[in-house]
């Protein structure tokens, strides 16, 4: 019962997380090229 609400809900959250994470990591990769290694404090 009510799976038609549960599934969109979980899709929303996990889809949202996936999209956000994807965008974040893509930005990170672009930036990584622009930043010289000596400026990477706090970034492991």
């Amino acid at each position: 019962m009510h799976w038609e609400f549960v599934i969109p809900g979980y899709l929303l959250v996990f889809g949202g997380l996936a999209i956000y994470t994807g965008a974040l990591l893509r930005r990170a990769r672009i930036l990584a090229v622009r930043v010289p290694p000596e400026r990477r404090r706090f970034v492991g």
Partner: protein, 272 residues
């Protein structure tokens, strides 16, 4: 359903060296595992509730999202904003901004799942429930905060304004929450009493798993969001070095010319 976080971790590995470190990789794997376990409990092991039926499963992500967004994320923004005004270092400013952004994301999750939960339980998508209403207001409040952060302003000006907004915004979240709760208490009985739930140990355990895994997701995202923000400032600093060199070269060009031609005397513009 588990495909999403698998893709997240594999994506992370492909960009190893961007913002991931040994710690964040281990933490990310742990988070992904935790999410998988949570999903297993939330969608498979947890029995339906007597009155809410399967809608109770929405509860497991709805409430943790609210707690993480309103208290953890905006709380970190609050503290970091205060620290920024005291210390004036980029670290605190970026932490405040990163945390607020993820907080807004979790606010959106809370609102979305809340409305989806409301339809089968209350019969309407939007009940003027204190939690839902006050979260919606907080969502807009911090959307405004993010809007200030995105403005093309002098970085120091922007950070200081954002810090003021971050501090007052968090205090406002509390005021809004209290007043809306009071309002609904006055107008009608406790909304949640309408839901005659009989939550069992399994329900509570699934909810607890949701809280832990959402907190871990928040932590992992915050780590990466902060690192991206940090890289951005460092990229700007690297650009600044070249900009400074170019600017100084301008001076050399100018003095190299014969004095009578002077500099480029174009039409009068607003001076820099």
């Amino acid at each position: 359903m588990t495909a999403t976080e698998e893709s997240a971790t594999s994506l992370e590995q492909t960009v190893a060296g961007a913002t991931s470190s040994r710690f964040s990789q281990v933490f990310g794997t742990l988070t992904a595992t935790m999410l998988a376990v949570f999903l297993l409990f939330a969608l498979v092991f947890s029995p339906p509730d007597v009155s809410q039926r399967d809608a109770v499963r929405l509860f497991y992500i709805h409430v943790p999202s609210a707690i993480v967004a309103l208290y953890l994320a905006f709380g970190i923004t609050f503290v970091a904003s205060i620290m920024y005004l005291r210390k004036g270092t980029d670290f605190w400013d970026l932490l405040a901004g990163s945390s607020a952004e993820i907080g807004v994301l979790f606010c959106a999750f809370m609102l979305g799942t809340g409305m989806l939960w409301g339809k089968p339980t209350w019969g309407v998508y939007w009940q003027w429930d204190p939690r839902l209403t006050s979260t919606a207001i907080s969502f807009v409040l911090f959307a405004g905060y993010l809007a200030i952060r995105r403005l093309d302003l002098d970085p120091t000006v922007r950070s200081r304004r954002a810090a003021v907004l971050g501090i007052i915004g968090f205090l406002n979240v509390i005021v809004v929450r209290q007043s809306v709760q009071w309002w609904r208490g006055l107008h009608q009985g406790q909304t949640l009493d309408l839901v005659d739930s009989q939550l069992s140990g399994m329900h509570y355990f699934s909810f607890f798993l949701g809280l832990v895994s959402m907190t871990m997701v928040f932590g992992w995202l915050l780590l990466h969001r902060f690192r991206v923000a940090w890289l951005e400032t460092q990229a700007d600093a690297a650009t600044l070095q070249t900009a400074l060199a170019e600017r100084q070269a301008e001076a050399a060009d100018y003095t190299a010319r014969p004095p009578d031609t002077g500099g480029p005397t174009t039409t009068e513009t607003e001076g820099i």
